[in-house]
Each structure stands twice: as C-alpha cells, then as structure tokens.
Amino acid sequence: MFVTTLSGQRFVFDDLKTLLARATPARSGDELAGVAATSHAERVAARWALAGTPLRLFLDVAVIPYEADEVTRLIFDSHCPEAFAPVSHLTVGGFRDWLLSEAATDDALAALGPGLTPEMVAAVSKLMRNQDLIAVASRRRVVTRFRTTVGQAGRLAIRLQPNSPTDDPREVAAAIIDGLTYGCGDAVIGVNPAGDSLAASIDLLRLIDDLRLRHAIPTQSCVLSHVTTTLAAVEHGAPVDLLFQSIAGTEAANRGFGIDLALLAEARAATLSLKRGGDQVCYFETGQGSALSAGGHHGVDQQTLETRAYAVARAFDPFLVNTVVGFIGPEYLYDGKQITRAGLEDHFCGKLLGLPMGVDVCHTNHAEADQDDMDVLLTLLAVAGVNFVMGVPGADDVMLNYQSTSFHDALYVRKVLGLRPAPEFEAWLASLGMVGEDGLVLPHVGGAALLDFAP
C-alpha cells in the first residue's frame, strides 16, 4: 500500500499497478479501463508516491503474477542483477535524476539495459516531462544491421509502406518507386497485406525481392503477415528477409494475436536459417491499448503494458521495433496531445530497454488529431533520435484507412535536422545521382531514372 499526502489531502494506492496507473499522464484508454486517476491531484499524488518508491521493489512485486503470465516470467527470469547494480540503490525519482545527469552516457545506458525491467522504465517515464523523454532518448543510440545499418547518430531511416487495398502488384510497385524517388525505403520496404493468404504473401515477397535484386537496392523487404503465415512462406522457399509480428505485453493479449513466446522463437529460428542478411531478423509492431482491446490487461495501465511488450521484443534481438502510436483510435489515445505523449514515451522506454525504436506517427479520422499534430510529433521524435518512421504515399494509407507520415515528411525532417539515410542506402542513392554531399535528396533529380523500375 502506498500513501501520500498532498496539501493536507491523503491519497492511498492499494498496490503497485494501481500506483503506476494513477501516476500516468491522462489518456482515454486508462479511463476506459477504469484505472486512471480521477483527479489532477490524485495523479500528482501518485507521482510523489512513485518518486519515493525504491527501484528494488520492482524486483519483488510483479504487476501481473509470475505464475499467471509468461511475459512476467520472461521479465523476471532474464533480469541481470549485475547490470542493475549502478542504480539499485535509487528510488524511481532518483533514477529520473540520474538519467538526466551526465552519468547517463550512451555506454552507461547500454550497459544498464539488461538490468532494467519494463515496469521500472515505465515508472520513471511517468515522472518525466516530454523534454526529459527526448533528452534521455537522444543520448541512446541503438544500432542494428541487416542489409542496411539503422540507428546511427545523424541518420534517420524510413520504412517504405506501399500498401494496396487489393494487394495489386502494380499498385505496390508504383508506391515503392514513388517512395524510392524521395530517398525512402532504407529501414525496410514493408507492405501490410490486405488478406492473410499464404499465396498473396509469397507473391508480394517475390515482387519486392525481384525489384531489390534487379536494381541492387541495399535494403530489406517484409510482408507484415501473421507469424504463422511467414513461417509457412519460409517453408515454401519464399524470400523472407524479416519475420514480422504484432506483439503485446501480456500472455493473454499475445494469445489474442495468436502467438506465444515459443512460436516467436520457432519462427525466428526458421527465418535465421535462410541467412539472407544478418542475425537481426525480427520486425515487431506494438501500440498502447492493444492489451485492453484484447481483454488481456489485468488492470494494468496501457503504457506499462506497452513497455512490457518491449521485453518480449528484447528477447528476440530485433532489427526494427515500431510503435504504431495513433492507429488504435480515440478510445485509447484521444487527441493529438495524448498521441504525442504516447509516442515520446514509447520511444524513450524502448530505447532504454535497448530496442531499435521506430514510430508510426499516425492518426485515424475519428481521433482529435490532424497533420499539424503529426508534424509536431515527427519533429520531436527526430530530435529524440528515433531510428525510423513510416513513409506512406501522401500520408494516406489507402488500405488501412489511416494517416501516417509521408515521403514528403521524410524529406522535411531530414532536411531541417540534417539527418541522412542509412549509409548503404545513401551510397546507392548517390550512385544514381539522387543525393547531394549532405545525403539529402536533390530537387527534381533521379526520379525519372527510377521510373524505369516500373513493371
């Protein structure tokens, strides 16, 4: 039980998960779940109590019981006490101060990662302002490699997302070519299939791989099918570069996705066996609210659960992790303010846990958000050192019916912050005469050459 007094008013929080939920910045999903603070004062009182809570407590208390949840077992069984030692004496509030201090260098943060549980990271994020989330995350570079190297300082990669409402190869190809002319596609060329049929997935994999080989594009492809479909594609000899799966922070929510940790391990091993580019072969997507949506939230707030999903990701050494922050809708993140906050939290928490975080800066038409909100979050994340963002033609995903970031947004943010593409991809663009010495795509150059790519 946690008790705190705020200006003469006494607040009691029954347990750790309640304390975490009440301390969370306001969002509609926690209100929907009935776990949010019911007043501004209660929220700040919870933060005071959380600030005074020792980090060690998180090693004694599980927000979801060890016996009931394999994600909890993964978190506890993989915790590294030696890595935790430098901060083991701190409270959550003291940990925030340490993170903001000069002691928290990239190397120190990298060494600390295995000593942190997702709940510790979620807890400290709840005490951090947006600028804190940016300041600390910007110090932590998580670099991963497949055919390109993603995550280095001074670079920003783009997932080219060429979706088609009918998986039409011509539509997919047109969007890929368009995106390449803007210098996008260095994180991955990743298409969400409209259906989940094995034949359609294999057709899309071959389409992208043929294009990549024909033009010697140093990148990787992914068809974002269910892991079982990708596993079958591997068995059929399809060119699977990356294994994709949506993941969540509880065993129950993962069951709703039709997965468990053993299945992910099996599929990763199968993908690794193809030896197509490197040992980091996983691409995971997450998003706050998925556990509640699947009825598997255990009364835990959605941001803590999201951070637990990163513990799942961490176990499989991924090449890319993408939080699809505004996709789920206003019942989980109501407006631009909540989406912005969640995007910065997810990026910070993922990076602290050692993940190559990208963010799908996005919104649906029933959320209180528009492109001005997307501009703000995109800019903040690029300042924070996000590994990659999405590139969707005109920001309008015509298959998934939501708005993400566009090829133009990639041009904008790379230009204003001087961020270059992944080095291998930049060299390829340079070989086509498409980029200047600053790595930025030249105006009106190169596109015409790429048009020859069209089938």
Partner: protein, 256 residues
C-alpha cells in the same frame, strides 16, 4: 482523389505512376513539402472524413426512405459524440429508456440501421440496401427496422435479443477513410444476445456504390449468409464464403 489537373504522359513522366494506383503517388514537390493543390486535396478529404465521424444521425430521414416499413428509433447509452468515441462500451448497450420500446416477437430477422462512425454512410446507403434485402427474402418474418444512434456493432446483440430475433443484421457506418467517408458495413449475428463475440459474426464491408460494393451485390452476399446461417444455426468463423463468389466476407470487424 486529387483535383490536380491530369497531364499527358509526355508532359509528366509521373502520370504513368499515378495511373497505376489509387494511392497518392507522384504528387510533386515544393521544396521538401507538398505542392499547395495536393496539400489542400488531403485537407479536403480529411475534412469530409471528420465531418462524417461527427455528423448527427437523422433516423427520421432513414425512416422516410424506408417507404412505410415499420421502424423503431432507439439510442445507445452514449450521451453524445464525445462520449461515444471515448466509451465504446456505452455504444454497445441500449439506453435504459429505450429497452421498453422493443417487444419480443417471432422474427426470423431483425435489421438495425446505425450511425456507427459515419452517419453519412447510414443516411446514404442503409435504406436502399434494406429495400433490396426485403425483395430477396420472401416468406421471411422480418421485424421492424430499428434505427439506432450512437451505436457500435454489438448494440445489435441487445436489440436482437430483446426482440426475440433468430438473427440480427447490423447496417452501420464504418470508420471513414480518407478516400471513403461513406462506407457501410453489414454484420450478421445468429441468436443475438449481449456478450456475443466478434468471432461469432460475419461481415460484408465497403458497401458504397458506385465506388464500393453495390446494393444488389451486397444484398446477394447477405442473403447467402442469412440462408446459410438459418440452415446451419450459426454465424461466425464457421460460416464462410468458400464458393468463390465475387465478394469477400470476413468475420472480424476492424473498422467499425
């Protein structure tokens, strides 16, 4: 999708790309940004979608279009649009005051017309679809058409259950996309009762002639589903269109 004037392939090498896909490709550049026309076209389409989300449902106008069919007007427990968007649980339950308006009967089918996330879709497409369906179901005992505001798909479970319907068909405005602000979805549920799972439904989506599925084609698809449901005594994942018909049917409703 955009009002950018079409140019000849000779004048614009990107016209070939544009012709290949409904996606917003080959928009051109103003520095790193979008040209003004393309930016405003996006804002226009977003505005139409936003207005569709927030449009008030007008059940009387749907009743008028239904040309004398008996109707009942009800609402969910969501008091306004903001509550509706934040609290999907409220949109799945009938307002207390409206429960008494639904008397149990002996119905093979009850059709519910609901605003969902696009009243625009319900206004435009629900009544013509209901009339197409009625003409295809001779001999069926079809209950009054229930016109429901602030409704989620699962509100049909409580409505159908109270009316004693053997199956309920929910015609509901789908989440608007930028290119489709008026798409109607149809969800069929056997033996409706509060607590049915989404996996126990079948859906036909993207009903929005002339761009999407037409009324006749949608009605044919739904009649096949309803006839099969009556034969098998179920809906959901076990009931699928495996006959290669020219329409698609799913059992998960991602967009409503």
């Amino acid at each position: 999708m955009t009002d950018v004037a079409a140019e000849t392939p000779e004048a614009d090498p990107f016209a070939r790309l544009r012709a290949m896909t409904p996606a917003r490709v080959a928009l051109g550049r103003s520095g790193p940004g979008l040209p003004t026309d393309a930016m405003l076209a996006f804002q226009r389409d977003h505005a139409l979608a936003r207005d569709a989300v927030h449009a008030a449902f007008d059940p009387e106008s749907v009743a008028t279009q239904l040309a004398g069919l008996p109707t009942v007007i009800v609402a969910s427990r969501a008091s306004d649009r903001a509550a509706y968007l934040r609290r999907p649980d409220l949109g799945r339950r009938l307002a207390e005051a409206d429960r008494a308006r639904l008397d149990p009967g002996d119905w093979d089918l009850v059709i519910v017309v609901a605003d969902g996330l696009s009243a625009t879709a319900a206004h435009a497409h629900a009544a013509p679809l209901v009339l197409s369906l009625g003409a295809r179901l001779p001999g069926w005992r079809i209950g009054p058409v229930v016109l429901a505001s602030m409704a989620r798909v699962a509100l049909g479970d409580e409505i159908g259950g109270r009316l004693g319907a053997r199956m309920v068909l929910m015609l509901i405005g789908e989440r608007p996309g930028l290119s489709a602000p008026d798409s109607l979805g149809a969800y069929l549920t056997w033996n409706p009762a509060v607590g049915r799972l989404d996996s126990e439904r079948n859906c036909v989506s993207n009903i929005r002639p002339p761009h999407g599925l037409g009324y006749g084609a949608a009605a044919d698809a739904l009649c096949w589903l309803m006839t099969s449901a009556r034969t098998l005594g179920l809906t959901g994942v076990a009931l699928r269109n495996d006959e290669g018909l020219a329409w698609s049917v799913g059992n998960t409703p991602p967009l409503a």
